[in-house]
């Protein structure tokens, strides 16, 4: 038991922090918001050159084979700098493929690691529910193809991704996953306009024919694959969110230490101090929870409930922190020309993605109340 980053973890984290601070400047973030792709290809290339896209991918896929906690720290740092790159979607899909993909699909990961192939994933239907049940998109077997019909929503980076890892309901076979070429006929992405000004899209499937070679894993493993996808996605989204939120808090603390009112730095007022203390506690809590979830995922232990705990907590508290940071800044925080809003808008979006507070709490409640036996904090729960 040692819940803080060790030396090597700290080293990677600090290296990433310095890199992103230098490379992912607010000017770059603003430029990406105006770019149709919504990301910086130059920054993506630099990240790939550092080998970070393979940080937690197996060595036989060209990765570094480091534990998933390292990917989490990387996402925290990318989130800290609100780096405009499709890191989350690519890493999540790649991790699933590394674990469950065919040899051909795993071979694709070398391109991913080199920054030549962006991936996305698609889980939610029109209702927006975050669930491995894959509602809203059905697949019908037709010879050597599966024909997909329906919709996926909130697919981040769809437009720039070469392949999209799609969950669907296979007729008679339950949940299944396929790695779909995003240029397939009948597939149409429509960009959302989000608070984050990011690249989330709705994707409609109109008789999209997917070759069976694109299916991921055995049919019997569909539910497990879907579960993994949801767990990786929600956990790493929490990492990214926690990282951004910590930086946002630091902005507020810095500002409070400098800005004067009533003859004092406003940070000398107890009301501001106590607010900042609560902000720190909230970010720390989110970070501890997601570290545990990622560590368990990495160890191959059941972790869905730990993921839900982390995302539910972060979804609730990170908005509190970011809103408080805005409040401490007063009017200036609200101005487009001031950088703080760049963080706020993303924290809002990220806290809502990959499962709402309500949904993740429902998972935790079911595990607490629907499983037999007494519960004890510290003893893992199993999803109901």
């Amino acid at each position: 038991m040692d819940v803080l980053p060790d030396e090597q973890e700290t080293l990677i984290q600090e290296t990433a922090r310095e890199f992103f601070a230098a490379e992912s400047t607010p000017a770059l973030v603003r430029a990406a918001e105006k770019d149709p792709s919504r990301y910086s290809a130059a920054l993506w290339k630099k990240i790939a050159d550092l080998g970070w896209l393979g940080i937690s991918l197996p060595e036989d896929c060209g990765g570094q084979g480091l534990p998933l906690t390292y990917a989490g720290l990387l996402l925290e740092e990318a989130g800290r700098a609100i780096a405009p790159v499709p890191l989350h979607g690519t890493l999540v899909a790649a991790l699933v493929l590394a674990r469950h993909g065919s040899a051909a699909q795993r071979a694709l990961l070398r391109q991913v690691v080199q920054g030549e192939l962006i991936l996305s994933f698609a889980v939610q239907g029109l209702q927006g529910a975050w669930s491995p049940a894959a509602e809203g998109l059905t697949g019908r077997a037709e010879g050597e193809y599966v024909v997909l019909n329906g919709s996926r929503t909130f697919v981040d980076g769809f437009r720039e991704s070469g392949h999209c890892l799609v969950l669907y309901q296979a007729e008679g076979d339950g949940v299944a996953a396929a790695l779909v070429d995003t240029t397939s006929a009948g597939m149409r992405g429509t960009d959302y306009v989000t608070t984050a000004k990011d690249s989330q899209a709705r994707v409609d499937f109109d008789n999209v024919r997917v070759p069976k070679s694109a299916l991921v894993g055995e049919p019997a493993r569909g539910a497990a694959i879907a579960r993994d996808l949801c767990d990786y996605a929600a956990a790493l989204m929490t990492s990214q969110l926690a990282g951004a939120t910590r930086r946002d808090m630091e902005f507020a603390v810095e500002y409070a230490g400098q800005r004067e009112a009533f003859g004092q730095p406003i940070g000398a007022f107890q009301a501001i101090q106590h607010l900042c203390a609560d902000m720190l506690i909230a970010v720390d809590g989110a970070e501890l929870l997601v570290h545990e979830a990622l560590w368990r995922l990495d160890q191959g232990l059941p972790a869905s409930i730990e993921v839900s705990q982390a995302k539910a907590f972060a979804g609730d508290k990170c908005i509190f922190v970011a809103r408080s940071a805005q409040q401490i800044h007063g009017g200036i925080g609200f101005m487009m020309e001031f950088d703080l809003q760049l963080w706020y808008r993303r924290i809002v979006a990220w806290s809502l993605r990959c499962g709402s507070v309500r949904e993740h709490r429902q998972q935790v409640a079911a595990a607490l109340l629907e499983q037999p036996g007494k519960v004890r904090l510290g003893m893992p729960l199993v999803p109901a």
Partner: protein, 408 residues
């Protein structure tokens, strides 16, 4: 105690609602939304304000001697509520300016400004905040130097104001300046009523987080634009001084009881409580599972009840005004409770809507044109403007509860 509006007031409400139905057509509402984007109120909306003024509805509470109706504060509130509900229009006669002129102006100033403000020929914007001082206005540095002789006695203004909402459409700025360069804090300040077309005034737009894309009609928080206003040797006749020179702090406080309370503040804080209930009942497929979720229902009820407290606190403020009493802590309490309630509602709705709460105006799949997403971007602003909740709580504790100041 009496918790109803009178029959006459209810009849007036019907009349106002009928007027709104007749006049606030889709076209006009679109025009107003454009206006909120900082490009003036537009040709379609302007005549309606004239009609409102003709009926006296924007001046029910002002004295008859200056073009008002000499009526009740409660009635005025009722009418303001209807207009704000229908079109997010604040019909009050001149915002901060008119009450201050009535409280501190000379007879000539009252005759000049008040009727014109009621007719909307004069529109004030408020020149308070400066880049280095938002909440702590006693730090104002914008300088006004008295000079000249005889008929040419005037002030020369130099400095800068910030967050000057509506400066782009206002005819006058209600300007807090430092007239005594040796003074500190609250002393040595004065109020000038400065025509915005005076040479040397520059208005620079400041775009807000609500600006790209702009919010849908009905978004209650956050203009898409506010302004910086720069004063470069602006020459202002001495007749524009409101109250005594050096008495600006007191002048700015007088008549400001209602700056932090009333129909506008109430409705921006509670409107989403109603909206989310009505949306849950709307039949939207995404609403159905939420409507039957006991956790959502518990939260909706909690927020609704908090909204009722907003309403009752507003009614308390109106009662105090109508009785001619002074606020102790009640205005400050309302300015804490209502904005923070608005934030709680906004964030709770975000959690109900989940990913759809990210989707702004113009996005596919958004909910009610992104109303709730736009709220998320800006609801907290109300906890900052017109006195932060921290400063308001200080006031409640010191004035309302008599708690001591920290020892130096």
């Amino acid at each position: 105690m009496d918790f109803t509006f009178s029959e006459e007031e209810e009849a007036l409400r019907d009349e106002v609602q009928a007027f709104i139905k007749d006049n606030f057509t889709e076209e006009v509402l679109a025009d107003l939304t454009t206006g909120k984007r900082g490009r003036g109120f537009g040709p379609k909306a302007a005549p309606i304000f004239r009609k409102i003024a003709e009926r006296g509805w924007n001046a029910i509470v002002w004295p008859k001697a200056y073009g008002g109706q000499g009526g009740s504060r409660i009635t005025q509130f009722l009418v303001e509520e209807e207009f704000y509900r229908a079109a997010q229009v604040v019909i009050g006669g001149g915002g901060t300016g008119t009450p201050a002129v009535l409280a501190s102006g000379t007879e000539a100033q009252k005759q000049h400004y008040v009727p014109a403000a009621i007719r909307r020929e004069i529109i004030f914007c408020q020149g308070y905040s400066e880049p280095h001082c938002g909440t702590d206005l006693a730090g104002v540095r914008c300088r006004a130097t008295r000079t000249g002789e005889g008929d040419d006695i005037h002030y020369v203004v130099n400095g800068q104001k910030i967050y000057t909402t509506n400066a782009q459409v206002a005819t006058h700025i209600f300007l807090l300046v430092r007239t005594d360069p040796e003074s500190r804090r609250h002393a040595g300040l004065s109020i000038l009523l400065v025509p915005m077309d005076t040479p040397g005034i520059t208005v620079r737009p400041l775009l807000t987080v609500q600006n790209e894309p702009g919010g849908p009609a009905g978004t209650t928080y956050g203009e898409e634009r506010t302004n910086e206003v720069f004063f470069d040797n602006v020459k202002v006749p001495a007749s524009c001084l409101l109250g005594e020179e050096g008495d600006g702090w007191a002048v700015s406080q007088r008549g400001l009881n209602l700056d932090r309370v009333g129909a506008w503040r109430y409705l921006i804080s509670v409107k989403r409580d109603e909206d989310i209930v009505n949306w849950l009942k709307s039949g939207d497929e995404r609403a159905a599972p939420l409507k039957d979720d006991a956790a959502v229902r518990d939260k909706v009820a909690e927020l609704w009840i908090e909204g009722q407290v907003c309403r009752l606190m507003t009614m308390r403020s109106m009662t105090i005004e109508q009785r001619g009493q002074a606020f102790n802590y009640e205005g400050a309490a309302e300015k804490v409770w209502a904005p923070e309630h608005g934030v709680r509602t906004t964030e709770a709705i975000g959690q109900m809507l989940g990913p759809h709460a990210q989707l702004l105006n113009g996005s596919p799949d958004n909910v009610q044109d992104g109303l709730y997403a736009h709220n998320l971007l800006s609801a907290f602003q109300s906890t900052v403007n017109h006195g932060s909740v921290q400063v308001m709580r200080d006031q409640i504790a010191r004035k309302g509860l008599g708690l001591p100041k920290p020892r130096k």
